[in-house]
Amino acid sequence: MAGKVKWVTDIEKSVLINNFEKRGWVQVTENEDWNFYWMSVQTIRNVFSVETGYRLSDDQIVNHFPNHYELTRKDLMVKNIKRYRKELEKEGSPLAEKDENGKYLYLDFVPVTYMLPADYNLFVEEFRKSPSSTWIMKPCGKAQGKGIFLINKLSQIKKWSRDSKTSSFVSQSTKEAYVISLYINNPLLIGGRKFDLRLYVLVSTYRPLRCYMYKLGFCRFCTVKYTPSTSELDNMFVHLTNVAIQKHGEDYNHIHGGKWTVNNLRLYLESTRGKEVTSKLFDEIHWIIVQSLKAVAVNASPSLTSSTANDRILKYNLINDTLNIAVPNGEIPDCKWNKSPPKEVLGNYEILYDEELAQGDGADRELRSRPGQSLGPKGGRSRDSGRTVLTTWK
């Protein structure tokens, strides 16, 4: 069996196991010699915690970077982005340029956000500036829409006030930490409904940054028509798009689960809004992703539970393509690997950003080309990877 990749997983999902088995990989236990370990979030935490002092050997790969929670947790994500922006500003990078009102020109992609209870007072100051606005409260450590609610009155979040009588400085357990952001109440609606985007991004290395975007991302729709009316603030089916929430709505349809492919979205937007605006939109989405990664952040655990038959197929193929990139040719992993994988193995992934390629072409690599404002060369139309260029910037 020399040469066969040995795998372990502590997540019993068919989309994973089928993919391993079809490659003829050998299943082993975590105590044995393994090459590839698809870990749950808990295991990652244990493996890479300071106490255990565990080190991966050169022929081992896992499915999360040790610092993945820098983006999983909402408060850490916000901190990272804020810190990243300040760093760029200090460096004098043109990316950190601001307009007359002090808003970032290129890095303004997170709405006004505060940590609670730590920034409570700062938040109150901001809240009072526009008292009729709505804010969204999200627990830092939860996912799938759990624990999220909307507020439009200070009284609704009295609990997080640091002036509460319990003590003047209470170190709140991480369970109760929340982020509060300005709620965007004029979202783009399709068929009168709100939707969000679920995009899959694979990061194979951080330095240099190499990431891939899965072409088959999708949009998730709310089952109920959107209304910014305050009476519906409590109706989570109007405001939250997570499938876990929508699944329990009366109108949830099990055949399609309220999803569209990103290509569909593109078709709709191009047909109704025009090509330029649509291309700009997708450009900006990709920009946000890359910048966020640079600020160091990756969501830990995409749901591997499949809700519909189509969904199962999608996730199977996703894992398949992921493994093809991460473990090319089914060879035993070697940490010295540094080449970009050839185009053929990408499957449904597209190169989102390859720092080496970007740097290799010289010129200001982080400059972005916007219509009417050319700051640098446009990202090359690389003939090999086909015509789909995700970005007009490098």
Binding site: G191, G192, N253, L267, S271, T272, R387
Partner: protein
């Protein structure tokens, strides 16, 4: 014009039918007041002299853009009316020249109406009823989300499904045609047994010449591997020019090579001669009021159809509410009755209670004369990708229906009628894929039984949306539905290898169950232009 003492029709324009459907606020794209005030007011300008009235008017039309609008309107009329026939031919001939076809359509209609009436009696629901004020208010509030309504529809069943209609077509016979009992190579072995003329591949190649291998196509030459400088960029540029010129005929010619996504909504509107005038919006609002005030039995049929089909579709479920807003209004739109002049079908007639047989008390039911069947809402669904303003969406759908879709469910000899399409499909298969055709027949899987539903729905719900729109581009471009039959045959050709291995109808259905990955233009091109015949 009164000041000149002349009649209302400007000289030189006599005989031109300006508007097929006359009621004010119909969908005609002729700008407001085409009958009177505006036009007359503009003709009273000082530049127009009495002595050279005719020339001056023509000149004025040209500069002001009215000439183009009139041309588009005339062109629009010509698209639906057949070529001039014998002056002594009665109006039924405009609907359908062949007697046996007319008779068959008549008895099919009787069946449908009977089915509708018996459902009505069984469920004790009136065909129409005025809503109490409370209910009206409620409906008005819910107008934008009728999809959340969950009326009990379990007792309703669709009036008919495509397969019922297919049985009728299979039994169509021309009593004047004697086939003889002996089988020969001429014998048609498909399900359709009427002798209509259909095109063969050489004729199709001529008809669809712009789909040929040497002409650029959207759907092929805009794929990721092809540099856009080769075709796409130029094609987009021409499209923008066509739109700027606002010329229907040019747009129709242009769109044979496919429409760029960003230009499609406008191009279709131009070809269909739709422009949203205030009176059109007003007309739509009037229909909406009718919906609020009266409840029709067909409304429940529409609800049921949407819930069964569009709501479950991967692409169209988002637009569920728009579908109600369009279809409920459509049922009440009496201007649609105008298309029965050239449709072999006739609107079902009903009589006010107690006045059976008295013409003054006859009403058409539903008001637009069109009884929806299972899958009907799928005609509207793809349009939601292009138009999100309800009255515009409505106008486009209505025009698509009275120009094309009605032919897919009425019995006629028209080359774009469903009977001809079925025959065309079967003939193509039998002639060019005889081995496959015989094999499928042998195992009891007559190909038409599988492809019929695709054609009746113009492939809506079977193809991916972007592919469907490319297909419908060509329907508009060629002003013909024949492409549906050609595509159906091309699909069978594409999957021929797998089909040769099946041994039952069910297995054949399975091979052809999923068309969502197909690319229509390459399929069509290969079938028509690259297959050795």
């Amino acid at each position: 014009m009164e000041s000149c003492g002349r009649s209302a029709t400007p000289p030189g324009l006599e005989g031109v039918a300006l508007c097929r459907r006359c009621p004010v606020g119909s969908n005609s794209a002729i700008p407001p007041g085409h009958h009177s005030q505006d036009l007359q007011a503009s003709l009273q300008r000082p530049e127009i002299k009495l002595e050279s009235l005719k020339e001056d008017i023509k000149e004025y039309f040209k500069i002001s853009g009215w000439e183009k609008k009139l041309q588009n309107a005339v062109y629009s009329e010509l698209s639906v009316f057949p070529s001039p026939s014998h002056p002594a031919a009665p109006p039924e001939h405009l609907k359908e020249p062949l007697v046996y076809m007319r008779k068959a359509q008549g008895s099919w209609e009787k069946r449908i109406l009977k089915s509708l009436n018996s459902m009505c009696t069984e469920l004790s629901i009136p065909l129409a009823r005025k809503r109490p004020v409370g209910e009206q208010k409620e409906l008005l509030n819910k107008w934008n989300e009728m999809g959340t309504d969950e009326p009990d529809l379990s007792l309703f069943r669709p009036v008919y499904a495509p397969k019922d209609f297919l049985e009728v077509l299979i039994n169509l016979r021309n009593p004047n045609y004697e086939n003889g009992d002996s089988l020969s190579f001429r014998t048609h072995l498909g399900l359709i047994q009427v002798p209509l003329k259909v095109k063969d591949i050489p004729e199709l190649k001529e008809f669809f010449v712009e789909l040929g291998l040497t002409t650029g196509q959207l759907g092929i030459d805009d794929s990721t591997q092809v540099p856009p400088e080769l075709f796409e960029n130029e094609h987009v540029r021409i499209g923008q020019k066509v739109l700027a010129e606002q010329d229907s005929a040019a747009a129709q010619q242009y769109i044979r090579q496919g429409s760029p996504t960003a230009l499609r909504a406008e191009l279709w509107a131009l070809i269909l001669n739709i422009s949203s005038q205030p009176e059109d919006i007003l007309y739509y609002e009037q229909l909406k009021t009718n919906v609020i005030q009266h409840d029709l039995l067909v409304d429940s049929l529409i609800y049921k159809d949407v819930k069964l089909t569009a709501s479950n579709d991967d692409y169209y479920f988002v637009f569920e509410d728009y579908l109600y807003q369009v279809l409920l209004c459509f049922s009440r739109d009496t201007s649609v009755l105008g298309h029965f002049a050239y449709n072999s079908a006739s609107p079902p007639k009903s009589y006010i209670r107690g006045k059976l047989g008295l013409e003054e008390y006859a009403v058409f039911y539903p008001p637009n004369g069109v009884i929806p069947f299972h899958g009907f809402s799928m005609y509207v669904a793809p349009l939601c990708f292009l138009y999100h303003e309800p009255s515009k969406l409505y106008q486009i759908f209505r025009e698509m229906y009275v120009r094309f879709f009605f032919r897919l469910h009425s019995i006629s000899s028209h080359p774009s009628g469903i009977v001809s399409l079925c025959l065309l499909f079967e003939t193509l298969l039998q002639t060019y894929l005889p081995q496959l055709f015989y094999h499928l027949r042998e195992i009891g899987a007559q190909p038409l039984r599988i492809s019929f539903k695709w054609m009746v729905r113009a492939f809506s719900g079977y193809l991916a949306t972007d592919q469907l729109l490319l297909l419908w581009d060509r329907i508009l471009g060629y002003n013909s539905l024949e492409i549906l039959a050609v595509l159906a045959a091309a699909v069978f050709a594409f999957r021929a290898v797998n089909l040769m291995e099946v041994t039952s109808l069910a297995a054949a259905e399975a091979v052809l169950a999923d068309l969502s990955t197909l690319k229509v233009m390459p399929l069509l091109q290969i079938f028509l232009f690259a297959t050795v015949t």
